[in-house]
C-alpha cells in the first residue's frame, strides 16, 4: 500500500522546544467554574485539505446562537444541548459539518510558533499536527489544556503501535478499527483508560472474538 504520509518519524523526532532560560479568583469563583460541565466535546482528525478522517462528537453541537452565550451554559451541570430546542438530525449533522470546516480553517492558519490552544466560542480547541493530519480536541474553558495535548499524543502512539508506522491511509481503510480503539480510550467525553498496553490488548482480544 502506498504511503501518503508517515507518522513514525513525527513521533520519534518531536521538535525540542526547550525553554530559553531553564526554570523553577476569588476562590469561590474558581470552584464554581469547575461545577459547570467539563468534558470533551468532540475529537477530530482532519488532513491538510480539510477532509475529515475521524469525527467523534460527545455532545451534539449547539444549533442556535443563544447556546454560544456563556451565561446560558453556566447553569449548574446541564449540558448545553438541554437548552436547545429539539432539532432534527439533519440540522445537527449540518451544524457538525460547519463547525468542522471552521475548525479546519482555524488550525491550519496558525503558525508553528503559536500555542496549541485556540479560544473558540465558549470552549477551547487543543490541536496538534502530525505529518499531514491535524488532531483537534474541543474541551471546556475550565479543562486542563496540556493534559489534552498529551492525550492527543497518547492516541497517536496507540495508532502507531496498532498499525506499526501508521499513515493516513491506514486510518482511511480501517476507520472501524480506529473508532474501536478510540472507544477503548475515551468514552462519554472522558478519558477511560490511559495504559497503552491495556487498550491495545483489549482491542486485539475483541478482534479475536469476531
Amino acid at each position: 500500500k502506498t504511503e501518503l504520509s508517515s507518522f513514525h518519524t513525527c513521533i520519534l523526532h518531536q521538535p525540542r522546544n526547550q525553554y530559553a532560560a531553564k526554570i523553577k479568583a476569588t476562590p469561590s469563583h474558581e470552584s464554581d467554574r469547575i461545577k459547570s460541565i467539563i468534558m470533551i466535546r468532540f475529537f477530530l482528525l482532519q488532513n491538510r485539505q480539510g477532509k475529515t478522517r475521524l469525527s467523534k462528537w460527545y455532545v451534539p453541537p449547539p444549533t442556535n446562537t443563544s447556546n454560544n452565550n456563556p451565561s446560558s451554559s453556566s447553569n449548574g451541570s446541564q449540558i448545553p444541548y438541554q437548552n436547545a430546542s429539539y432539532t432534527t438530525t439533519n440540522q445537527t449533522e449540518a451544524e457538525k459539518v460547519r463547525i468542522e470546516s471552521e475548525v479546519h480553517r482555524l488550525v491550519t492558519s496558525r503558525d508553528k510558533k503559536y500555542t496549541n490552544f485556540i479560544e473558540y466560542n465558549n470552549y477551547k480547541l487543543i490541536y496538534r499536527r502530525y505529518a499531514g493530519l491535524f488532531f483537534t480536541i474541543a474541551v471546556d474553558v475550565a479543562d486542563n489544556e496540556l493534559s489534552y495535548l498529551e492525550s492527543i499524543h497518547l492516541f497517536v502512539e496507540l495508532l502507531d503501535s496498532y498499525f506499526a508506522n501508521v499513515c493516513e491511509l491506514d486510518i482511511v481503510f480501517n476507520f472501524n478499527k480506529v473508532y474501536s480503539i478510540l472507544d477503548e480510550y475515551m468514552l462519554a467525553g472522558e478519558i477511560e483508560e490511559t495504559s497503552k498496553r491495556e487498550i491495545l490488548d483489549r482491542v486485539k482480544f475483541l478482534e479475536k472474538l469476531e
Partner: protein, 667 residues
C-alpha cells in the same frame, strides 16, 4: 483485520479515486440505491422487524459498514435501521459489533427506533460473566463481558432520555457488582456519568457515596480513572454529599505523587498516570474549605502533595514528559487558587513565583497558561501585589504575535490594574489598541473604559481616555460607554470637570472630520455644560453652535436628534443663537424621521406656547443620574465573558477611588 470485507475495501478505494466531489457523490448514490434494493428487494417478504431474512450474515455486516462509512464521509443515511437492529439483536458477537457501532454512529437517542432496542440492551447489559453459556463455559463467560461492554459503550454514546430511565438502575448494578470485570466497570462508570449529565441528580448522593468509596479501593488505575470522572461529575451536582470521599482521594493522590507507586503500564514518560492525578486534583477543587480542618490527617498529606508537585516539577528533554508534568502543576496551582486565603501564604507566594517564571519563557504554551493562571491567582486577597511585579513582562506579552497569548495578557492586565499603575496600564492598552486585531478590539475598548473609570484619581484623565478611545477605535465604542461618560460628568459638579469636559469636547469636535460618537457626546455635553465655557475666547454660544452644526450633514438621524435638543438649549441660553437655530428647525419640521420631526416642531413652538420661566424649567440642566449597583459596562462585560471570568469579578468590586467618589456625591 478479520472483519474487513473486501467489498468495503473496494468501495473505499473507488471513492478515493473519484476525481471530483460530484463523482464521489454519484458513486455514493449508486451504492445507496444498491443497498436499499438489497435491504428491500420488493419481491420477497421482510421479517416482522423489517429486515430482509435472505441476507447472509456477511452481506448484512458488509452493507451496514458501508452505510456507516458513507455517513462518516458526511452524507445523509436515512434507511437501514431495521438491518442495524437485526444485527444488534443477533447472538453472534461479530454481528453485534457491527450493529452497535452503526447504532451509535447513525442514530440519535431521541430516535423512536431506540425504544425497540431497550430490551436487547438490557439483556446484553445484565448478562454477567456468571451466566454460564451452554458448553464451553470459560469462553462463554469472557464473551459476555465483551457483550456487556458493547452495550455500555453504545448506551454511553447515545443516552436518550427514554433509555436513561429504562437503564440506569441496571448500569448502577453492573458498576458495583463484585462479579463485573474491570473492563465492564470502567465502561459502566462512564456510562453512568453520561446518564447523570443528561439527567442531573439521577442518583442520590447520600446513597451512592459509600458505593463510590468502595470503588475507589480498586487497585486498577484504569478503573480509578473512570470512577474519578464519574465522581467529579456527581460531586459537582451534589457537592456536600461527596465530601466524605476527600480522604480516599487524597490517599490515592498521595500514593502516586509521594511514593510514585504505580504500575509500569500507567507510567507516561515516567510520570505516574498524569490524567488520573489531574482528575484527583480537579475533584479536590470542588472543596475550597478542605484544608481548613487542621486536625484531619489528610490535610497535611494534601499540603505535602501540593508542595512536592510545586517543588519538583521541572523541564525535561522530552516535550511530552514536560507537558504532562506541567499539566499536573497547573492543576495543583488551580487547587491553591480554590483554597484562596485558607492556603498557607508561603504556598501562594511560591505559586506566584513559579508563574512569574513561566510568563517569561519562550515556550508559548507555558507562557499562555502562566498568564491565565496568574490572573486567577491574583484575585486572591493579598496576592495581587505579587502579580503586579510582573507588569512589564505582561505588557510585552500584550504584543505577542499569537492572539491567544494577547487575550490572556489583556485579561491579566485587567486584573492587576490598580490606582497606582492604572495610568500606565491604560496608556499601554490604548497604544496597543491602535494595532489590535478586530476580534479583540471590542473587548479591549470595554475593559479600558471600565479601568479608566475605576481607577481615575482625576476624572479629567478619564474623559481624555474615552475621547482617545473614540478617536482610535470609535466604531467599537458602544453607546453604553459614552452614556457612562455623560453620567459621570453630570454627577460631578465639583471641581472643574464639567467645564473641562465641555472645553475638551469643543476642541474635539472642531475639525471638519470627527467621529460620530464624538459629535454625540459633544452635542450633549455642550448642551448641558457649554455655559461654563461660553466666556472663554472662541467658545461663545455662537461658536459652539457652529462647531456642532458643521457636522449636521454627515451624521445619522440619531445624532441629529441629539443635536436638535442641544440647539434648543443653546437658543434658550444665547440670544444670538436663536436666528441660527430657527431655520434648522424649520427645515427639519418635515423630516421623514418621526423623532426629528417631533423635536423640531415642539422646540420651535415652545417659545410661543410657554412662558419664559416654563421654558427655562424645561431646558434646565439634567439632575444627577442615580447610581445603580452595576453599570451598563459591567453588564456588557458579564454578557460577553460569563459569570466566572476573572475580569467580571474584578469589575464588580468597587475600587477605593470609586468609593470615595460615592461618598463625595452623597455630601
Amino acid at each position: 483485520m478479520s472483519s474487513q470485507a473486501r467489498g468495503l475495501n473496494n468501495f473505499i478505494s473507488d471513492l478515493r479515486n473519484s476525481k471530483s466531489r460530484e463523482e464521489e457523490s454519484n458513486r455514493v448514490e449508486v451504492e445507496l440505491a444498491k443497498i436499499r434494493k438489497k435491504f428491500n428487494p420488493g419481491d420477497s417478504k421482510l421479517a416482522a422487524d423489517g429486515s430482509n431474512p435472505s441476507l447472509s450474515s456477511y452481506q448484512r455486516k458488509k452493507y451496514v459498514w458501508k452505510l456507516v462509512y458513507i455517513h462518516v464521509l458526511g452524507y445523509e443515511v436515512d434507511f437501514g435501521h431495521a438491518e442495524v437492529l437485526a444485527l444488534v439483536r443477533s447472538a453472534k458477537y461479530s454481528e453485534k459489533v457491527v450493529g452497535y457501532a452503526a447504532l451509535s454512529l447513525l442514530l440519535r437517542g431521541s430516535d423512536p427506533v431506540m425504544a425497540s432496542v431497550i430490551g436487547t440492551l438490557k439483556a446484553d447489559l445484565t448478562a454477567g460473566p456468571g451466566d454460564a453459556a451452554r458448553g464451553k463455559k470459560a469462553k462463554g463467560a469472557v464473551k459476555n463481558d465483551a457483550v456487556q461492554c458493547l452495550a455500555l459503550c453504545s448506551l454511553a454514546n447515545i443516552a436518550g432520555l427514554e433509555l436513561i430511565q429504562a437503564m440506569h438502575v441496571e448500569v448502577q448494578r453492573v458498576l458495583v457488582a463484585p462479579s463485573s470485570t474491570e473492563q465492564v466497570r470502567k465502561k459502566a462508570a462512564l456510562c453512568l456519568l453520561r446518564l447523570t449529565r443528561t439527567s442531573p441528580n439521577l442518583l442520590s448522593g447520600r446513597e451512592f457515596a459509600p458505593r463510590v468509596a468502595n470503588l475507589l479501593q480498586d487497585q486498577h488505575l484504569g478503573v480509578l480513572t473512570s470512577v474519578m470522572s464519574l465522581l467529579s461529575c456527581l460531586a459537582s451536582q451534589q457537592t456536600p454529599e461527596y465530601e466524605g470521599l476527600i480522604p480516599h482521594v487524597v490517599h490515592i493522590l498521595s500514593k502516586l505523587v509521594m511514593k510514585k507507586n504505580c504500575a509500569r503500564d500507567y507510567l507516561y514518560y515516567r510520570t505516574p498516570s498524569p490524567w488520573l492525578q489531574i482528575k484527583l486534583l480537579k475533584f479536590l477543587q470542588l472543596y475550597p474549605n478542605a484544608i481548613e480542618n487542621n486536625t484531619a490527617e489528610y490535610t497535611s498529606q494534601l499540603i505535602n502533595v501540593v508542595s512536592k508537585i510545586m517543588i519538583e516539577t521541572d523541564v525535561s528533554e522530552s516535550i511530552n514528559k514536560s507537558n504532562a508534568d506541567h499539566a499536573i502543576l497547573f492543576e495543583a496551582v488551580n487547587l491553591i487558587v480554590v483554597w484562596g486565603p485558607t492556603c498557607p501564604v508561603e504556598m501562594r507566594e511560591g505559586a506566584m513565583k513559579i508563574l512569574g517564571k513561566f510568563i517569561s519563557v519562550r515556550e508559548p504554551n507555558i507562557r499562555y497558561l502562566g498568564l491565565m493562571t496568574m490572573a486567577k491567582l491574583a484575585q486572591i486577597e493579598g496576592s495581587v501585589e505579587g502579580a503586579k511585579k510582573h507588569q512589564a513582562t505582561v505588557l510585552v506579552s500584550l504584543k505577542d504575535a499569537d492572539i491567544s497569548v494577547r487575550r490572556r495578557a489583556l485579561d491579566l492586565l485587567f486584573v492587576i490594574c490598580d490606582t497606582d499603575n492604572a495610568e500606565r496600564i491604560v496608556d499601554e492598552l490604548v497604544a496597543h489598541l491602535v494595532v489590535a486585531d478586530a476580534s479583540i478590539r471590542e473587548e479591549m475598548v470595554l475593559k479600558i473604559a471600565i479601568l479608566a473609570e475605576k481607577y481615575a484619581t482625576d476624572l479629567r484623565w478619564y474623559v481624555d481616555t474615552i475621547l482617545k478611545l473614540i478617536s482610535i477605535s470609535g466604531d467599537y465604542v458602544s453607546d453604553p460607554i459614552w452614556h457612562r461618560v455623560v453620567q459621570i460628568v453630570t454627577n460631578h459638579p465639583q471641581g472643574d470637570l464639567q467645564g473641562y469636559a465641555a472645553a475638551t469636547l469643543f476642541v474635539a469636535v472642531s475639525p471638519h472630520r470627527a467621529h460620530e460618537t464624538t459629535v454625540r457626546i459633544a452635542a450633549y455635553i455642550l448642551g448641558e455644560f457649554g455655559f461654563l465655557i461660553a466666556e472663554r475666547p472662541g467658545m461663545s454660544g455662537e461658536e459652539q453652535f457652529r462647531v456642532l452644526h458643521q457636522h449636521w450633514f454627515t451624521v445619522d438621524m440619531q445624532t441629529r436628534a441629539i443635536l436638535i435638543s442641544t440647539y434648543a438649549k443653546l437658543a434658550n441660553l444665547y440670544e444670538e443663537c436663536r436666528p441660527l437655530v430657527a431655520p434648522v428647525f424649520a427645515r427639519s419640521k418635515n423630516s421623514v424621521n418621526v423623532e426629528i420631526q417631533q423635536r423640531c416642531a415642539e422646540y420651535a413652538a415652545m417659545r410661543e406656547a410657554f412662558s419664559p420661566e416654563a421654558v427655562e424649567d424645561l431646558l434646565r440642566e439634567m439632575p444627577p443620574f442615580e447610581d445603580r449597583r452595576r453599570s451598563a459596562l459591567e453588564l456588557r462585560l458579564l454578557e460577553t465573558e460569563g459569570e466566572n471570568s476573572a475580569a467580571v469579578a474584578k469589575a464588580s468590586v468597587p475600587s477605593a477611588v470609586e468609593e470615595q467618589r460615592a461618598l463625595q456625591m452623597m455630601q
